[in-house]
């Protein structure tokens, strides 16, 4: 994402997780704000450009360089705000003209893109900018450095380069970058600031609905994830219980004989399923039932040994759940 002049900072580093997009946009719109708001997330950045309270452009850029604008960008931003736990909001007030240039940079018409400087006549190009009374932004950059020149009616408004935080009046840095080997230029033009006033994304989109949809989708996603986790947990518990049940059957079978498995099945069924084995009351009732049935089949000594073994197995199993 471009580094942009900070102008007059209104808010910096506001935690996005506590904000609601409709509230932010309404506040900026009602305050007739001119400038831009940047939402900085871990992997994405969103820029919203306002002109006298009107939202004139929106851009969301991902880490992979993929850009979205307009309605899609608003939806993407809402989704990022809802789903990302972190992120910061910065709001910078700019002049009307500079805001127009920022808009040109973000969504203006691209006249040149990645054009190698040495292959063009920069002097002629600048003359043409002046002659055509162009509004826009000329970006000069190499792989390491970048500088921008903002134009209004063909006249430079100011210069901005990486490393600075605001518009400068000196063109020395821009000239220095232009002289570097491999320097390239982008040229973006836009309508005048007055014409831009005719555009307001807030009027053509239902921000509240976009936000509500994102919240609902996020909630649905969380619910689905929770459900999946619950089912996974349930399955794991069910698997463990089945193993415990089998272990208990083998213990009872060892002392009572093959009929022991049937006795365990019956007691488990009477106590509401194998979950009773890890429930304090259920396990007690289960043990009593097994003991009562075993009294009809095995000696007191063996019953004692069996009950001790069962009790220990169930206690260990309980601690694992």
């Amino acid at each position: 994402m471009f580094l942009l002049p900070k102008g007059n900072p209104l808010f910096e580093n506001l935690a996005v997780s506590k904000l609601k997009l409709p509230d932010v946009l309404t506040k900026l719109s009602n305050g007739a704000f001119t400038g831009y708001a940047s939402f900085v997330f871990q992997a994405n950045t969103a820029l919203l450009v306002f002109e006298a309270g009107k939202l004139v452009s929106v851009l969301v850029e991902g880490q992979n360089g993929k850009r979205e604008s307009g309605f899609a960008a608003l939806s993407a931003l809402a989704e990022l705000m809802v789903t990302t736990g972190s992120g910061a909001l910065n709001v910078y007030k700019l002049s009307k003209d500079l805001t127009m240039c920022i808009h040109a940079l973000l969504e203006g018409e691209t006249l040149y893109k990645a054009q190698e400087l040495k292959l063009i006549d920069i002097k002629t190009l600048l003359e043409k900018v002046k002659e055509d009374q162009m509004n826009g932004c000329l970006r000069i950059y190499t792989d390491e450095h970048s500088a921008m020149i903002f134009y209004k009616d063909g006249n430079p408004l100011g210069f901005f380069h990486d490393g600075s935080s605001d518009i400068e009046t000196s063109s020395s840095e821009s000239q220095k970058i232009a002289g570097l080997p491999g320097a390239k230029i982008d040229l973006f033009s836009t309508q005048s600031a007055d014409e831009l006033m005719g555009t307001n994304l807030l009027e053509v989109t239902n921000i509240q609905k976009i936000w509500d949809t994102s919240v609902a989708q996020h909630k649905s996603e969380i619910d689905r994830t929770n459900l999946e986790r619950q089912e996974r947990d349930k399955k794991a518990v069910s698997q463990k219980l089945a193993e415990l049940e089998e272990h208990v059957k083998s213990i009872v079978g060892e002392y009572v004989g093959k009929v022991g498995r049937g006795i365990v099945d019956k007691e488990i069924s009477d106590n509401g399923g194998n979950a009773c084995l890890i429930d304090a009351d259920g396990a007690e009732k289960f043990m009593k039932g097994i003991e009562r049935a075993a009294k009809l089949l095995v000696s007191g000594t063996n019953i004692k040994l069996m009950m001790e073994k069962l009790s220990s197995t169930i206690s260990i199993a309980k601690s694992e759940f």
Partner: protein
């Protein structure tokens, strides 16, 4: 004291030994039922009732009290029914693993049946020797039938629990019911062909009928001996079985 000694001398020593064994069996079975499940209560009460029924025979004046004589046969009938109820419950347990009910219900139900039987005898005419013999025949028939049924139940129970501690105890119960079947069956055989002592007394005093007992004296005497010894063995085997079961379940 002298009259008591005189009374003892009138007792059949064989019956005395048999009743002593039944007494021992009844005591062991009753002790066994304490602290054990309800199925054992039914079985134990049943064997204890056999002792009561057999003990009455020691009374040299037994035949002088027709109502009591009839009643002791009824007690014998209730005994085998209670035992069979116990084995049936055990069989149900082996198939369903269901242990339901309360011991008190078994005690009270048995008591209620005995009281109802006593009332039945009390409100009806005094039983004649023929009536008493009929009741005895009914008792023996029920014993024979239920002994066979219990043998089948025991076989089925054993097949389910054969790898448990108690399984050999059921083989012992099987032996008990074989002895009981022979004991009661041999006497029923005598009664069916009217070679029993009761019938001989009846025809000697009350009817003009002639018995063919003399023609079959050999098989009559054999059946009488079989009945006597099988009865004795039944008492011994019950006592031994409960002692063995007690050892198995200790």
């Amino acid at each position: 004291m002298e009259s008591f000694i005189e009374l003892l001398t009138q007792m059949n020593p064989f019956n005395l030994v048999q009743v002593l064994f039944w007494g021992l069996a009844g005591a062991i079975s009753f002790y066994f039922s304490i602290g054990n499940a309800r199925v054992w209560t039914s079985i134990s009460i049943g064997f204890f009732l056999i002792f009561l029924a057999q003990a009455y025979q020691l009374n040299p004046l037994a035949e002088s009290y027709p109502i009591l004589e009839a009643y002791h046969y009824i007690i014998g009938t209730v005994a085998i029914m209670t035992i069979s109820h116990g084995f049936l419950e055990y069989y149900v347990f082996c198939r369903t693993f269901e242990i339901s009910g309360n011991k008190i219900v078994v005690y009270l139900s048995t008591l209620a049946v005995l009281i109802a039987s006593a009332v039945f005898l009390y409100i009806n005419p005094t039983p004649s020797p023929n009536t008493i013999r009929n009741i005895s025949m009914i008792e023996n028939s029920i014993w024979v039938f239920l002994s066979v049924m219990n043998l089948e139940l025991i076989r089925k129970i054993y097949s389910v629990i054969k790898d448990s501690d108690i399984s050999k105890g059921f083989i012992a119960f099987g032996i008990v019911f074989v002895c009981i079947f022979i004991w009661k069956g041999s006497y029923l055989y005598l009664q069916i062909f009217q070679w029993d002592k009761d019938w001989q007394n009846i025809i000697a005093l009350m009817t003009d009928e002639v018995s063919n007992i003399d023609e079959y004296m050999g098989r009559v005497q054999f059946s009488q001996e079989v009945s006597r010894y099988a009865g004795l063995l039944s008492g011994v085997s019950v006592g031994a079985t409960f002692t063995y079961m007690y050892k198995l379940l200790k």
